[in-house]
């Protein structure tokens, strides 16, 4: 099974673990690994296009420059800018914060590609069926509103009721389209509500359209994720990474290295799973 096809709970646990460590560790070694692996998985998974990569690069550069410009803590001045010291410590901290931001942004982009709306609904439905229903209806209406907006504005334009060339006319025309859209959708919503009530809404438990079972594979993966995260957290705990007033790091002790190794495995877990599937597919093909 490919990583994207796993139970939404497993996927959510995985991203919670990875993002948790990325955002809360502030450990330079782990952040380097995080940045490299998240770029790697975005490139291999094809979740980021050229524009997205450029945006991430811009975020990295801005975030890295901002900290030394505004924070002047630290004992080692590199140079002075307008009589304010630019310190080595603040620069290193800025680089780490920038790495954290960029890695987190890459991971979040992956997450929103994997977590489609029906999966979000599945997760919320467990917590509260009311919210799940409200969410699913709102998502449906968002798509419906777009379709209806097109329909109304096309027909108004075809009737010659507003002219796109004239700014005032165009704005007034849009306002009329919006007004029609709201009236139509609200009236139509009442019909939906009536239909729901006559079919027995609120009389029993709501069932969900998509059925995701928790397979043994899911359970094993969840346990692996949590164990790897715990090992990384132990590694973070035992390695010292202090930035102010003087950089004092102790990253390469045995626990720190074990934690970094665990985090590396955790970071590339989706790549391992998908790679295994790709190899198996090739192998089965060649057997035929």
């Amino acid at each position: 099974m490919r990583f994207e096809q796993l139970n939404p709970f497993t996927v959510a646990v995985y991203y919670l673990c990875v993002l948790g460590i990325i955002m809360f560790s502030m450990n330079p070694l782990l952040l380097c690994i995080a940045l490299l692996t998240s770029v790697l998985s975005a490139v291999i998974g094809g979740t980021a296009d050229k524009k997205a990569h450029l945006f991430s690069l811009a975020v990295f550069l801005i975030a890295a420059v901002l900290n030394p410009l505004f924070v002047h803590k630290g004992m080692t001045p590199l140079f002075f800018l307008n009589d304010n010291p630019i310190t080595l410590e603040a620069t290193v901290y800025g680089l780490c914060a920038a790495g954290m931001l960029t890695a987190a942004l890459y991971r979040l982009r992956d997450l929103s590609k994997v977590m489609t709306s029906d999966r979000v609904l599945y997760l919320f439905g467990r917590f509260s069926p009311q919210i799940a229903l409200l969410l699913s209806m709102a998502i449906r209406y968002t798509a419906l509103l777009r379709v209806r907006w097109r329909k109304i504005s096309d027909s108004q334009r075809a009737l010659g009721l507003f002219d796109d060339g004239n700014l005032i006319d165009a704005v007034r025309g849009r306002a009329r389209v919006l007004s029609i859209l709201i009236t139509w959708t609200l009236e139509n919503g009442i019909v939906t509500a009536e239909s729901m009530e006559s079919r027995g809404y609120g009389t029993g438990r709501r069932t969900s359209y998509a059925v995701y079972r928790v397979h043994k594979y899911d359970a094993v993966l969840m346990i692996v994720c949590i164990l790897l995260t715990a090992l990384s957290a132990v590694g973070i705990y035992f390695s010292k990474a202090e930035f102010y007033p003087v950089l004092s790091m102790n990253l390469l002790n045995p626990w720190g290295i074990a934690g970094a190794a665990a985090f590396t495995v955790l970071s590339v877990l989706p790549l391992i799973i998908n790679g295994k599937e790709a190899i198996r597919w090739r192998w089965l093909l060649s057997k035929i």
Binding site: L108, A138, I182, T183, G189
Partner: protein, 228 residues
């Protein structure tokens, strides 16, 4: 609107969150992290606060009609977030709140953020945005009698909501970036966000002005005609 159906779980959350969980989180941050990990703590508190508000809504089971109309208004707010620069999301939440009640306002605000972030990007900022817009709706619902009467106060509410939202989100920006609160960075963030703050406030006022009459009339009509 009853969100969590199990009465025991609801009671536990309702009294446990403000009196046990939030103090425990704050104490944890003071003792274990020595006040270092503001981000985890603030994220935890935002999620807990969202849960707390949801457990508060338990008076009646919401009718299908009110639910569908709230969903439509939420969809309109999401739809409006695709407009470049000027965002009518606050105006729509406020309108929903003053005509359909505080719970509807809360859900319109928080869920429209959750849904639109599927396109705009989910992240640790989502709970904060949800809380921000949810509170804008909730408070407007509680002030509905005043806001319905006076046009000027409604517009003033729009301005205050825009500025307050920006201030809240900048606290979060600084916490995430610097790991702790820093007044200098906060001021820098506020200053750099100034054009956006002004844009929020202006678009709130503009959209409240435009939408107040027509949308208000439509919602009122639906309320009277179908007895929502």
């Amino acid at each position: 609107m009853r969100v969590i159906e199990n009465p025991r779980l609801r009671a536990i959350l309702r009294y446990g969150i403000p009196f046990v969980l939030i103090p425990a989180l704050v104490a944890l941050s003071a003792i274990v992290f020595e006040g270092q990990r503001y981000l985890i703590i603030s994220l935890g508190i935002a999620v807990l606060a969202l849960l707390l508000f949801m457990t508060g809504f338990e008076k009646r089971n919401i009718g299908a009609r009110r639910m569908v109309i709230t969903a439509i208004m939420t969809a309109l707010a999401v739809f409006g977030r695709f407009i470049p620069l000027f965002k009518p999301i606050t105006a729509i939440c406020v309108m929903t709140a003053i005509y359909l009640g505080a719970e509807a306002g809360f859900f319109c605000g928080s869920l429209s953020v959750l849904i639109s972030n599927i396109w705009f990007g989910q992240g640790p900022w989502t709970p904060f945005q949800m809380l921000g817009f949810g509170l804008i709706g909730l408070i407007a619902g509680y002030l509905s009698r005043v806001l319905l009467k006076s046009n000027l106060l409604l517009l003033l509410y729009g301005v205050i909501a825009g500025v307050a939202y920006s201030f809240l989100m900048d606290v979060w920006t600084v916490l995430w970036y610097a790991g702790g609160f820093d007044w200098k960075l906060y001021t820098a963030a506020l200053l750099s966000a100034l054009p956006f703050t002004a844009l929020y406030a202006v678009s709130n006022v503009v959209f409240l002005l435009i939408l107040r009459k027509p949308v208000g009339n439509k919602l009122n009509r639906i309320k009277i005609k179908y007895g929502v």
